[in-house]
Symmetry: C2
């Protein structure tokens, strides 16, 4: 082979490797749980198609990250939903800034709401509505 | 004075001190800035009257905390609004869990939006809407 042929063969190999990697990555994120938990909600969030969101993941994450991601997603649910509750109940103000609620009290409320949403299937908005009542009860004591 | 009278005088003194303290506390939180920044929004948040929310603050916070609170509120605005943006743009998932955005990128977006809301007076919902577009732009790169 001359130099040009070597280069061409190498390019073809790289392209082939890319294709294989792409197929392997697609296999991971095409599972049912991925679709329901990650692809559907996040593509909807950004107003893009599911295929577009898949492309983002494939482009940005390597195999190892993709393989670990669904488990990470599962184990972070509780943490992330508590962060959202903290923000939506204005606990940054009430607890962190004003100190009218203790960390222990806010933890109690957040864990209760997160459980209701993640385990008992309560809607998030309803949980927040009830959480606001719990909070007020603590404050009124 | 007999013992009973001493006790009565002490009780009256305590009541008097409580009244004075209450008046002093009320003077702090009855200012215009307190009303607009804290009393109005938080009483509305909980669906209680402004007087009820004032009672909560007076009962829960001592003079020193009350005196420091409005300044704390001012200086925490940026921090708390960034926390809310983090939650509303699902950055807990996208950045902390999935790592499809770097901390530097999310900080950039959050600081930009917080500035738009706090300094330029953009509505929070509008800022979030635009933030979602910024985010998508980063992701699509």
């Amino acid at each position: 082979m001359n130099n040009e042929d070597v280069g061409k063969a190498r390019d073809e190999n790289i392209t082939h490797e890319d294709d294989v990697l792409r197929i392997m990555k697609m296999r991971i994120i095409d599972s049912y749980r991925w679709k329901v938990d990650i692809i559907e909600p996040f593509s909807k969030e950004f107003g893009i198609t599911e295929d577009e969101f898949k492309e983002i993941l494939i482009k940005r994450l390597d195999m190892a990250s993709l393989e670990a991601l669904h488990a990470r997603y599962e184990s972070s649910k509780h943490y992330c939903i508590k962060e959202k509750i903290h923000a939506d109940l204005k606990l940054c103000w009430l607890s962190d800034v004003m100190n009218v609620l203790t960390d222990e009290q806010t933890e109690k409320i957040k864990n209760k709401l997160a459980k209701e949403v993640l385990i008992q299937g309560k809607s998030y908005d309803e949980a927040i509505e009830d959480g606001r009542k719990d909070l007020l009860e603590y404050l009124m004591r």
